[in-house]
């Protein structure tokens, strides 16, 4: 138990005062308009929508009654730019600047504007359960005051004032929270190992590398709830006894970098980061580190090498980062979504969290639902929901009357789930049981026009290009597997190639140094398991049933497999 300074109440009062003040200010307005400032809506022009809404509000003398803010993502990314009006909870989609006058004029009316309205009482919203994204769209991503006024930082204050680090760890362990970065290791156990490890100082790292192609859950958390993320990281630091933290964000997310940096500055200003946080003896600060475009840097030991300013190459584990991580010191490394769950668990208790989900997979999972699906977007669902519910209830099914073929989870480390497993429960064990993984949350739906051999080849090309080259099984093995898959899609593979393919997959899986190589065969193995007939059609009949591959049964010339990306 850390000693607490006497008269530690003052700063807490300060924070409560900030919340009250903000609430008072907010209550002067009858309506709050939140324009989504997430990356997707920004790309669709939400910044100009916000400007024109503010302009119309000012011109029409609504200025004292209606406030326009930048908000976050409601998950309906395909309908951007979106606008949320509080307290009515009206959601508008596909707004243009020209719609601003109509929206403002309609404010006092009972019925929302028909043509822009996106009702929130439909399955897309009703079937979701939001913990990580609970304040989705309804809190300003650039003002800590707004976050505090909506209940933010209460959990951190509770942790540092009312709980000992051990109590925090016990609470997280009891909640059953597992890492959302892919492997699903118990978060509480990991925290305990770091807390118990010898060595000083200790570090906390937030893994915001999000490298799976087709995944953008963590980006949304960093863009829209950077304060929530920081609160989670700070609680973790208190629990494990760390004084310095890093948020490692991939270079492709400049907006996330800006938002998290801004959040850090604001938290420092209110003494929610820095020395003697909230009047206690707990010191902790955070810095952002920007990645530089290497998928392998999502792997924890490679990420640590990258923060140390080196090539992002993994090293064998053990020792795990929990005992020997950054600069050889005990280091806690968790995923963005893992950290974002923490404040809710501390606030509502472990039992509450453990009541959601399945026996072994607690809580919710955020998925980026994309591909051949009617409602694409960002969704958060309780673990244990079936794939069918996600695709047909939330996602609205497959467009153009096509037939569902497979859903891909876990990106290049995952697998394809066929129609016969549509009723699978989405939890760590069930997914692993059919050769896929939960992964970080990419969920790509494919219809009958997708060729599964081609999909396997796609992921293998990705792994081959992203292999860091340190260990031979991964560097050479992925290239060999790719070559066979490429030949298969060209019609030059033979049945003995198929045998060799399986052998190679087995070898790469069992002898690679890190998770990249170990999991690289997964997409191949899972498609071989469920869609073997497609491989056979390519090889024997020289035909692609989906009509994607152009097969020329002449032997291919030597093709340059590993080409430089630069």
């Amino acid at each position: 138990m850390t000693t607490k300074l006497p008269q530690s109440q003052l700063p807490e009062e300060e924070i409560l005062r900030v919340a009250e003040q903000e609430q008072e200010e907010k209550s002067q307005y009858q309506r709050h308009i939140y324009v989504c400032m997430g990356a997707a809506c920004l790309a669709a022009g939400s910044a100009t929508v916000k400007d024109s809404l503010s302009e119309v509000v000012d011109q029409n003398g609504f200025a004292g009654r209606c406030a326009v803010h930048g908000g976050g993502c409601r998950g309906l990314c395909a309908e951007g730019p979106t606008v949320t009006i509080e307290p009515d909870d009206v959601l508008y989609g596909k707004i243009t600047p020209q719609d601003a006058p109509d929206i403002i004029k309609n404010l006092g009316k009972k019925r929302p504007l028909e043509r822009l309205h996106r009702p929130t009482d439909r399955p897309f919203f009703l079937r979701q359960q939001r913990i990580v994204l609970e304040l989705a769209g309804k809190v300003n991503s650039e003002r800590i005051e707004d976050y505090i006024a909506s209940g933010g930082y209460k959990s951190l204050l509770k942790a540092v004032h009312e709980m000992s680090p051990v109590e925090v760890i016990n609470e997280i362990t009891r909640s059953g929270l597992r890492g959302r970065g892919g492997a699903g290791y118990s978060t509480g156990l990991k925290w305990r190992t770091v807390a118990k490890a010898d060595g000083h100082p200790k570090y906390v790292i937030c893994n915001g590398d999000e490298g799976d192609p087709g995944a953008f859950m963590d980006r949304s958390v960093m863009d829209d709830y950077p304060f929530r993320l920081l609160e989670g990281i700070t609680i973790a630091a208190y629990a494990v006894g760390a004084e310095q933290g890093y948020v490692y964000i991939r270079a492709e997310y400049p907006l996330s970098v800006r938002r998290v940096q801004n959040a850090i500055r604001q938290a420092q200003r209110l003494n929610l980061l820095g020395n003697q946080i909230a009047g206690t003896a707990f010191n902790f600060d955070v810095q952002v580190r920007v990645g530089a475009g290497a998928f392998v840097c999502g792997e924890e030991t490679a990420l640590i090498a990258s923060i140390e300013g080196k090539r992002g190459q993994p090293r064998p584990r053990p020792p795990y980062p929990a005992t020997a991580g950054l600069w050889g010191k005990p280091t806690l490394i968790n995923n963005v979504e893992t950290f974002a769950n923490i404040p809710a668990i501390i606030r509502n208790g472990a039992d509450w969290f453990a009541s959601i989900g399945t026996e072994k997979s607690k809580g919710t999972k955020v998925f980026a639902l994309t591909g051949n699906i009617n409602h694409s977007g960002l969704i958060e669902v309780p673990m244990g929901i079936t794939l069918r519910e996600i695709i047909y209830d939330i996602g609205g099914g497959i467009p153009n009357g096509k037939r569902f073929k497979a859903a891909q989870t876990g990106g290049p480390s995952g697998g394809c789930i066929p129609e016969e497993h549509l009723d699978i429960s989405m939890d760590y064990e069930s997914l692993a049981g059919i050769g896929s993984i939960m992964g970080s949350g990419g969920l790509i739906v494919m219809d009958e026009d997708s060729c599964m051999v081609n999909v396997a080849k796609y992921f293998m090309e990705f792994c081959m290009t992203e292999s860091c080259g340190k260990c031979i099984p991964c560097r050479v093995g992925t290239a060999q597997i790719y070559r066979i898959l490429d030949n298969t899609t060209r019609g030059t593979a033979t049945l003995s190639d198929l045998e060799q393919l399986e052998m190679l997959c087995d070898m790469v899986r069992h002898t690679s140094l890190c998770g990249l190589g170990q999991a690289a065969p997964n997409p191949v193995l899972s498609t071989l398991r469920f869609f073997r007939d497609e491989y056979l059609m390519h090889i024997v009949e020289k035909r692609c049933p989906a009509g994607v591959c152009h097969l020329h049964p002449e032997p291919a010339l030597y093709n340059d497999t590993k080409e430089s990306v630069r």
Binding site: F216, A292, R311, T370, S450, V565
Partner: protein, 163 residues
């Protein structure tokens, strides 16, 4: 604190690079941050920059070169005035972005990752630009081309480069 090295030239941008390194106390762990600043300021990393960073942080030039070439984000040659990015993320891939890339490579007579000889356009690929519902996505600088077909993308690029 070590004495600062003389800047390679009186180009003001070197001061930014130096400021980044100073902020990190010229520690060798600042290497990637320093290279980020060089790339932001100059658009790419040349030998002068690598040498300057190596000397300032007291790390071997070979390690600086190793790091610079390991990460895809760092460019060792100047890019084109404009950049076209074809998304090869999963959603875009299954909706046909490889065909778009192929068409563009043929039309522009360059491969992915290269720049046209006149220096006008770089053709790049990305693994998911985060707008999967618009797949297949082609980005022309900051413009998003949603649900692009190979022909559309090619026409658009030609228009846009000749602007």
């Amino acid at each position: 604190m070590k004495a600062t090295l003389a800047l390679p030239s009186d180009d003001k941008r070197w001061r930014m690079v130096n400021a980044t390194m100073r902020r990190h106390g010229y520690s060798s762990s600042a290497l990637i941050e320093a290279l980020h600043t060089v790339q932001q300021a100059f658009g790419y990393l040349d030998e002068t920059a690598l040498q300057y960073v190596a000397k300032s942080l007291r790390v071997p030039l070979s390690r600086v070169y190793g790091v610079a070439t390991f990460y895809n984000h760092f460019m060792m040659k100047p890019g084109g005035t404009h950049t076209c990015v074809v998304c090869l993320g999963t959603a875009c891939y299954i909706k046909g972005s490889p065909q778009i890339l192929e068409t563009l490579e043929k039309r522009l007579a360059i491969r992915k990752g290269q720049t046209t000889p006149d220096g006008k356009l770089s053709l790049m690929v990305a693994h998911c630009v985060g707008m999967c519902w618009l797949a297949p996505v082609v980005m022309l600088d900051d413009d998003v081309q949603a649900e692009a077909t190979p022909a559309q993308a090619a026409t658009k690029i030609q228009e846009w480069v000749s602007k």
